[in-house]
């Protein structure tokens, strides 16, 4: 559209433009000495040979304007700072699409001397693998991908975090809020229905909303949930409309797995409590925001970079959790949350950390009325989605153990999917 506009100048506008540069041309006559500065030199040979010869490179899908990428960019900066890697050492390539451009960006970073390269978006994975095959001496670390454990490359790694534990805790806070509403007579126990705005019917999203629901159910047994999908990871309008639809449908509390301010804004406008994602939305939604969960990538970045500095190997699949500091809850809004939420969260958190509580404990949910005793998940990615790994044992679904990226894609009772086109 940009260039479209540029070509619909009327001639009159064109004349005006020309008139402006007439003056400028005269000025240029005086100032033209400079000439066009040509390619001189260096720029690649910056002073990197300080500490070790570590040089991380980071590839992100968008830039700071996207909350998703901002989370990665901030983590990259923080990790480098904590490891004493100076600002002109590490390299950051933003706005890299999920296509050949990603391979090119990774190869350029390798050419520039990077010895460990990170990418942040799911669609970057195949191009990172392509680059990893070409540069066997350089480590390639990909967040959210699924293929490291099947590719068998020494220098290609996946990472994720047990964000389902964060979602579960956020769900506990939501359930506490529902209980408060029931106790105050605002709603009946049967009306405790939550709404959830998801992006795609992707395992990561399913794992997210299911753990959120189970968290709420652990404190408010009568809770049900409706889920709608937008078909985009970032679509402010669709997310806002989705949240509004759920609210009109009788949902008394909303959460979301999508990156824009759409759902929180809709909640603030309607006065419906919201559990946010990827960081606090308290400033914009002071009257409805309860709590938010997010992945903190600093621990992984530090771990992987440190491994290269020490010459040790990086895990093929690395899953951060509450104990590593990779899963965080941010800013409980005490003016909206129910009383005693923080104490309850601390209690549940310590149980999750010591392993006495499992999010996907099969005794806490049913699938089509029956207990889930066995489930083959599609852990090894293939075009036919072939189930290949038994993931239920010891009474719980082992999420993010057979690979770092989530693979929980079971539809459990109590959650109604309104649309599954995406």
């Amino acid at each position: 559209m940009k260039s479209f506009n540029e070509h619909t100048f009327s001639r009159r506008q064109f004349v005006k433009l020309g008139g402006g540069s007439a003056v400028a041309l005269v000025l240029a006559g005086c100032a033209s000495g400079g000439g066009s500065s040509t390619s001189s030199d260096s720029s690649a040979s910056d002073s990197s040979s300080s500490a070790a010869s570590i040089k991380p490179g980071f590839i992100t899908l968008h830039d700071e304007n996207s909350t998703y990428d901002l989370n990665f960019i901030n983590a990259a900066k923080e990790a480098c700072q904590e490891l004493g890697i100076s600002e002109d050492t590490y390299m950051l390539k933003t706005n890299v699409p999920e296509g050949q451009e990603c391979y090119n960006a990774a190869a350029e970073l390798a050419d520039a001397g990077c010895n460990i390269i990170f990418a942040d978006s799911f669609g970057h994975e195949d191009y990172m693998i392509q680059a990893a095959k070409e540069f066997p001496d350089i480590q390639f670390c990909h967040s959210t991908g699924t293929k490291a454990h099947t590719e068998g490359l020494d220098n290609y790694h996946n990472a994720f975090a047990s964000i389902y534990e964060g979602r579960y805790l956020a769900g506990v806070a939501a359930g506490m809020k529902l209980n408060e509403m029931i106790d105050s007579g605002k709603i009946t126990a049967d009306q405790a229905k939550m709404g959830y705005v998801g992006a795609y019917t992707y395992a990561e999203v399913i794992s997210g909303y299911t753990s959120f629901y189970l968290g709420a159910k652990s404190v408010c047994p009568s809770v049900t949930m409706e889920v709608t999908f937008t078909g985009s990871w970032y679509d402010e309008t669709a997310e806002k409309e989705g949240a509004t639809k759920l609210i009109n449908d009788g949902c008394v509390l909303i959460s979301q797995h999508a990156d824009s301010m759409g759902a929180p804004t809709a909640c603030e406008n309607a006065g419906v409590p919201d559990v946010s994602y990827n960081g606090s939305t308290q400033d914009a939604c002071p009257n409805t925001y309860i709590i938010s969960s997010r992945i903190n990538w600093v621990p992984y970045y530090k771990y992987a970079i440190q491994a290269v500095m020490d010459g040790s190997t990086i895990d093929t699949d690395w899953t951060g959790n509450l104990s590593t500091g990779s899963v965080e809850l941010t800013d409980l809004n005490t003016s909206v949350a129910a009383d005693g939420t923080q104490d309850k969260l601390d209690e549940v958190k310590s149980k999750l950390e010591d392993g006495s509580l499992h999010v996907f404990d099969t005794s806490t949910f049913t699938v089509k009325g029956a207990k889930l005793d066995s489930y083959e998940a599609d852990v090894d990615t293939d075009p036919n989605y072939t189930p290949d790994t038994e993931v239920v044992s010891d009474g719980y679904f082992h999420e993010s153990e057979y690979r770092s990226a989530p693979y929980f894609d079971v539809q459990i009772d109590g959650i109604e999917l309104l649309d599954t086109a995406f």
């Binding site: 500065s37 830039d63 399913i206």
Partner: protein
């Protein structure tokens, strides 16, 4: 008073001098803005700009590949624009070519011999692009609908179609991504010449450039396009079948766009996304206009745009500036270049008040 009149014909040396001057001027302004806003030395920034485009063999190959694809789309749009048919649907036509290519690779990969598969991809991508160009052309030729809006709307339809098929073919389920198609078998991947990933694309587009030059300049079709573009009444008067020319030209325009989609999916990316055309359908319009529809000049104008894009992204990487800053610099440079075309085409006269002001030819 100032009045403006159209120039007759400017000697090449003079017009090149104006263009050169405008670029120098643009660089000076960019330098001033850079220093004010960021405190960086503008000379360093320019050096980074150049190293972003030419800094290594790989960067030069990427530069050439990007030029080739942009040039291909621009060449596709040229006959339509020369005919004054405002084809803003390049984006959608490329996407349809890409979709057809990906469909062949996914559905027929490993089922038929690779040579036959590639032949299917070539034919289907060209047909898909051509059909996407044909639809608005038919409506224009039969009912004189507004092709600007029509082609623009067709882009959205194409984007949604691609989005739909991505969900059909996504791996893993629900991810909304296809990933690299046939990564292990490389079925349907266009052959690589030696060690050079992008050489085949570059050669193919070079051939199209020459053919397009010949087509526009030396064939009857090319002549008819020029006449229809100048005046449809004249065209009708001399016995040119205007609807036929419109339809034929848009078939060609769409077909080459579809071919660009083939180069993107079969040649380099080996995946399908809704953003794979990356705005080239629109940028190509600028490339074609800047070069006044001369295919060889379009090499220069597409070079200029790709060079600035590559340089700009290098600046944002090296100096940790937001991409928007690089876009500001690109915008300034483009502004001056387009402005210089004004001075080449028109003459500015400063006259005394008393003199009668001629009606400017604008």
């Amino acid at each position: 008073m100032i009045h403006i009149s159209k120039r007759k014909e400017m000697p090449l040396s003079q017009s090149m001098a104006i263009r050169g001057l405008s670029i120098v001027l643009a660089l000076v302004i960019c330098g001033v803005i850079t220093t004010i806003l960021t405190g960086l030395n503008p000379i360093d920034v320019y050096a980074t700009f150049f190293s972003g485009a030419f800094g290594s063999a790989r960067k030069i190959w990427i530069l050439l590949q990007e030029i080739a694809i942009l040039l291909c789309v621009s060449l596709a749009l040229t006959p339509a624009f020369k005919m004054k048919f405002w084809n803003l649907g390049g984006e959608g036509q490329v996407l349809m070519g890409a979709l057809a290519t990906a469909a062949c690779m996914i559905l027929l990969g490993d089922k038929i011999p690779n040579g036959l598969l590639i032949a299917c991809m070539v034919v289907s991508s060209i047909v898909a692009g051509a059909v996407w160009g044909l639809i608005p052309a038919l409506f224009k030729a039969k009912w004189n609908t507004n092709e600007t809006l029509f082609t623009l709307m067709m882009n959205y339809v194409a984007t949604q179609l691609v989005a739909y098929f991505i969900i059909v073919w996504e791996v893993p389920k629900g991810s909304g991504k296809i990933g690299i198609i046939n990564q292990s078998t490389e079925a349907g991947w266009l052959p690589q010449i030696g060690d050079y990933k992008y050489l085949l694309n570059i050669i193919l587009v070079a051939i199209i450039t020459v053919l397009m030059y010949i087509y526009l300049k030396y064939t009857k079709h090319g002549y008819e396009i020029s006449v229809v573009g100048e005046s449809t009444n004249t065209a009708r008067y001399v016995g040119i079948n205007v609807p036929k020319v419109i339809i034929r030209t848009m078939l060609l325009s769409g077909a080459i766009c579809g071919f660009a989609g083939l180069l993107l999916v079969g040649g380099t990316d080996h995946t399908l996304t809704t953003t794979i055309a990356n705005g080239r359908g629109f940028t190509g319009v600028m490339v074609a206009w800047l070069a006044k529809f001369n295919p060889f000049s379009m090499i220069a104008s597409s070079f200029l745009l790709v060079f600035m894009e590559r340089g700009a992204s290098e600046i944002s990487t090296i100096y940790a500036l937001n991409q928007s800053f690089a876009d500001i610099l690109t915008g300034i440079i483009l502004f001056f270049i387009i402005g210089s075309e004004f001075f080449i085409t028109y003459k500015v006269n400063f006259t005394k008040k008393s003199e009668e002001v001629e009606k400017a030819d604008v």
